[in-house]
């Protein structure tokens, strides 16, 4: 009996919801273009489920935050395909190359991130083509690994860090562009690109979240980049110096795209030997790096020699127990030249000499001073004995 009442209640509720939906009544904030009435359900913080893998998925949308985000003017259905049926059954994962029904003002064509996605797929982080897929594609970062749906914030860092700059500039925009919401969005869209989305330390953290994973890197023939943290560059980053070079400062300098990182043998890469001076000098960029960099200076290796050099010189690899290193060795043979190996050996030899020198010196000095201490104590004891004897 009770069950029947419950059923009737649920059917009634659903019917009421359906009627509400058909009326097109919006629960959403005025700021969100919720034409699909998605917030009818998704405004509830508890909405979610556990997926097949047992991972908790939260489907709550904070309408105010979403409205202030870079995608805040888009309707849900512009990106989320397959939402027509309720409850949803066949929702596809968001594809950032989807055309999202916005007109791109410079071409008047329908906008999508397809050009970025295509570049990305051709880069070192791309999954390869259907004919030539990369091994362990699941390791490679997707768009969302690096990109969150960032919030628009006031432009900061110039003339102090208050909102005053945004307010004053925006007031001038609104003078001509009278539709305030449009002006605000345009201003936010533009100024969003004028500031760093992540601090240098955050960039390093993001990149190292994969690149310090020895096992994952070894699967792709790449050495772990612990050696970056031996550089002066890292010291600047960890102290929070604004001019500090993080990963993208060198790997994606001015004129390059983060989505288009290429192997350093590729002439397009900023690390390609003939592009190095431009990269290190960073002429025209915000960061002041090595404006007087010469070919000799820029042609060298920035990260310290690591796993590859150790492998090629027959040294035992530390921290690689149980990790397949064949792919790294294969790449090491092409990545490191005879000159690199010579440099590595010289540096290693100097280090060894110093280790012996430091060890030997300290041992000798410590031993000498210990004997001296005992001798002084012995003498003091003798003198004390003589004094007591008197």
């Amino acid at each position: 009996m009770k069950l029947n009442i419950l059923k009737a209640f649920m059917v009634g509720t659903l019917a009421a919801l359906g009627w509400w939906l058909s009326l097109g009544i919006s629960f959403g904030s005025d700021a969100v273009s919720d034409t699909g009435n998605c917030l009818l359900c998704h405004r509830y913080p508890s909405i979610g489920r556990y997926d097949e893998k047992g991972i908790k998925r939260v489907f709550y949308v904070n309408d105010k935050k979403f409205a202030a985000s870079v995608h805040g003017k888009l309707a849900c259905k512009n990106c989320h395909v397959g939402l027509d049926q309720i409850p949803h059954t066949d929702v596809k994962k968001v594809d950032c190359a989807t055309k999202c029904h916005i007109t791109e003002p410079s071409t008047n064509q329908e906008f999508s991130h397809a050009n970025m996605v295509n570049k990305y797929e051709a880069s070192v982080h791309g999954k390869g083509s259907a004919e030539n897929p990369k091994p362990f594609a699941e390791d490679l970062p997707t768009c969302k690994y690096c990109h969150e749906n960032r919030m628009y914030n006031p432009l900061q860092g110039m003339w102090g860090s208050s909102e005053a700059l945004s307010n004053e500039t925006l007031a001038r925009c609104i003078g001509c562009h009278t539709k305030e919401n449009w002006a605000r969005d345009f201003y936010a869209h533009f100024t969003h690109r004028m500031r760093r989305r992540r601090t240098q330390a955050e960039v390093v953290k993001l990149c190292t979240s994969c690149h310090e994973n020895r096992e994952k890197m070894a699967r792709h023939g790449v050495e772990s980049i612990d050696t970056y943290k031996d550089t002066f560059h890292w010291n600047l980053v960890r102290y929070g110096v604004h001019n500090a070079p993080d990963c993208i400062s060198c790997h994606v300098p001015l004129g390059h795209s983060t989505h288009d990182i290429r192997p350093r043998e590729d002439p397009v890469s900023p690390l390609y030997v003939f592009n190095r001076i431009k990269t290190c000098s960073n002429q025209g960029g915000i960061q002041v790096c090595h404006p007087a960099a010469t070919a000799e200076f820029a042609g060298g290796r920035v990260h310290a020699y690591g796993t590859k050099a150790q492998m090629l010189t027959g040294n035992k690899l530390k921290d690689y127990q149980g990790i397949e290193t064949d792919r790294i060795l294969k790449r090491a043979e092409t990545d490191l030249s005879g000159k690199d190996i010579f440099h590595y050996k010289v540096l290693k030899f100097i280090k060894l000499i110093y280790k012996i020198l430091i060890g030997g010196t300290i041992l000798f000095m410590g031993f000498h001073q210990w004997l001296d201490f005992l001798a002084v104590k012995r003498k003091q004891k003798q003198l004390k004995g003589l004094a007591n004897g008197k």
Binding site: T294, F297, R301, I350
Partner: protein
Amino acid sequence: MGNKALVLDGEGVPETESVRGKLFFVRLNYAERVQHMIFAVCFMVLVITGFMLKIPDSVVTYFGPFGEAVFSYRSLLHRTAGTIMIFVCFYHVYYLLLKAAGRRWLIDMLPRPKDLWDMRDNFLYYINLKKEPPEFDRFCYKHKIEYGALIAGTTIVSVTGLILWTEYNWSKFVVDIATLVHGMEAILACLAIMIWHFYEIHFRPHKFPLDKTWLTGVIDEEEMKEEYALHYKKIMNDPELQKIYTKREP
């Protein structure tokens, strides 16, 4: 004034003894003390600001939003102290070659075969196979080792430091070598100073807590006889040396 010689940690020294007119022996003259003072301050600044590049990330996070300012001052201080230290070295070379006291220092500091025998005999004394330590001249083998290490170390860190300062004029390989050598030499210098020099001036039982010669420049007769017996004899037998190396407290 001066330091106590090897006597019972100060016990048994007659308190009633007047120090008026007491004889003192000059170990460091004014110019040498000033050089030492500037060098020591620079050394400490260089060590602190240099090893700030090697401290763990967890310590760096304590600087929080002041990290950038801390780093800027660190860099400025390191370069300033390094520059001053190099100038002190140049002055020292000038002092050694063109000043009478400097030339005496240089001649007395030159290594001699006696230093080797002194070292052997001193070790024998340490292990109680000899009853008395050897009689040392103005500078003993310990001083000469330390002075030699100081010259070598300062030259190496200065040259590599200047290479790092002008890094873009060099190939990256040279910069890498300079970085490695600068750091390793700094570790060696620090440990040597801590174990060799700090022991001599702070932790030798009769010197604890501090040998004040670096400030006063003199030691008393008792210590002179005890530590530098040969030099003491030379001075006492030569009125010219007495003019240079002795002082009477008024």
